[in-house]
């Protein structure tokens, strides 16, 4: 049951996979959406410490929703939050073209960053920001070292500072 959109066929068609295939074509003008805890906004802007959820901690890249198949508020829906209700979150957005394409590590290795479509049954737009030395989403994911992660967060923060986070009221 959606919280931020009216329940109906258009919601089901948009948010659920409904047998649609994976689509790895990301346009430069496509937005990626990410939840952010409202209580950690400073002067209305996100702080790198709290969106280091671009953390690359796990074996996969970090989760976002893509605008080609979703509205920004869909990233707050239980369907896209493993069934959880997320009322105290805002939505951050970044253009695919604003992702740093490549970040050099102090070791001399460069890490390349790409978006990759990873649809879920109840959240078709689910995607990940993928990282490895090759910049090839078909190659295994590599967790970048801390200096690369920090530079990545810093560059994202500079982008996020240019626009306000999106705040949504529940539709019901």
């Amino acid at each position: 049951m959606p919280v931020y959109s009216p329940d109906g066929q258009s919601y089901q068609d948009r948010v659920h996979q409904n047998g649609r295939p994976v689509d790895q074509t990301f346009g430069a003008g496509e937005h990626l959406y990410r939840r952010y805890p409202k209580q950690y906004l400073r002067d209305g802007k996100p702080v790198p410490l709290a969106f280091q959820a671009f953390s690359f901690e796990r074996a996969a890249g970090h989760s976002v929703n893509r605008s080609k198949y979703s509205l920004p508020e869909d990233v707050l829906e239980p369907d896209c939050c493993d069934g959880n209700f997320r009322p105290e979150y805002v939505v951050l957005q970044i253009l695919v073209s604003e992702l740093p394409a490549e970040i050099p590590a102090s070791s001399g290795t460069s890490y390349r960053i790409r978006p990759v479509h990873r649809p879920k049954e109840t959240c078709y737009s689910h995607s990940e920001i993928w990282c490895n030395e090759q910049g090839d989403i078909d190659q295994p994911y590599q967790r970048p070292p801390k200096d690369v992660r920090n530079l990545f967060y810093g560059e994202l923060a500079r982008v996020f500072a240019k626009r306000n986070p999106l705040d949504f009221a529940a539709a019901r």
């Binding site: 280091q52 959880n84 530079l151």
Partner: protein
């Protein structure tokens, strides 16, 4: 010979105005002002004196930072909804020691926040310039700084002792002023 001059006539209107300025609406009357708020007067005095006192200003800032530290202890696992760990005890101890060091240096951090990678960050801002020192649960300490017209830079601190923090602050301070 007596000198005779015109006697100065008293200006009764002005005299009355000076005796009763509220009646003549030259100043607000007590009825217009309302009852004197003693607490408010003390508060205003305290605020005006604190603005003049770097010591009091720092004391108030560090009280607020300690409050933020207390609130951090309530942070739960997955606080960012993407699986972030809560800060561990080693991170708390490191940040408490760092705050003591910054207080001794008369350096005022702007806030404390959990790190989504697991740990705690101490933040410093100046206009739109930003920096933080992150005390990871893993025991590492990293600095990140950037500005609207300045790309991000990062480095690792060799240790968490006062000398290392002082050196970090010197670099951070320079970058915040750039």
């Amino acid at each position: 010979m007596a000198l005779l001059s015109h006697a100065q006539l008293i200006d009764y209107d002005n005299a009355e105005r000076r005796r009763h300025p509220a009646i003549y609406r030259e100043v607000p009357s007590s009825a217009q002002i309302g009852p004197a708020e003693t607490n408010e007067i003390f508060k205003q005095q305290l605020l005006s004196s604190s603005h003049q006192s770097r010591y009091l200003e720092l004391e108030q800032a560090f009280i607020e930072l300690r409050d933020q530290m207390a609130r951090l202890r309530l942070v739960r696992e997955n606080w960012d909804s993407y699986g972030a760990s809560r800060p561990d005890e080693a991170a708390f101890s490191a940040v408490e020691a760092a705050l003591r060091a910054f207080r001794d240096m008369n350096v005022r951090p702007n806030g404390i926040m959990p790190s989504a990678e697991g740990g705690i960050g101490i933040m410093f801002t100046e206009r739109e310039e930003y920096a933080h020192i992150e005390f990871d649960n893993s025991g590492e300490t990293w600095v990140l700084t950037y500005g609207p017209d300045r790309p991000a830079t990062t480095w690792q601190l060799p240790s968490r002792n006062a000398d290392s923090l002082r050196e970090a602050w010197n670099r951070i301070s320079a970058s915040l002023q750039s």
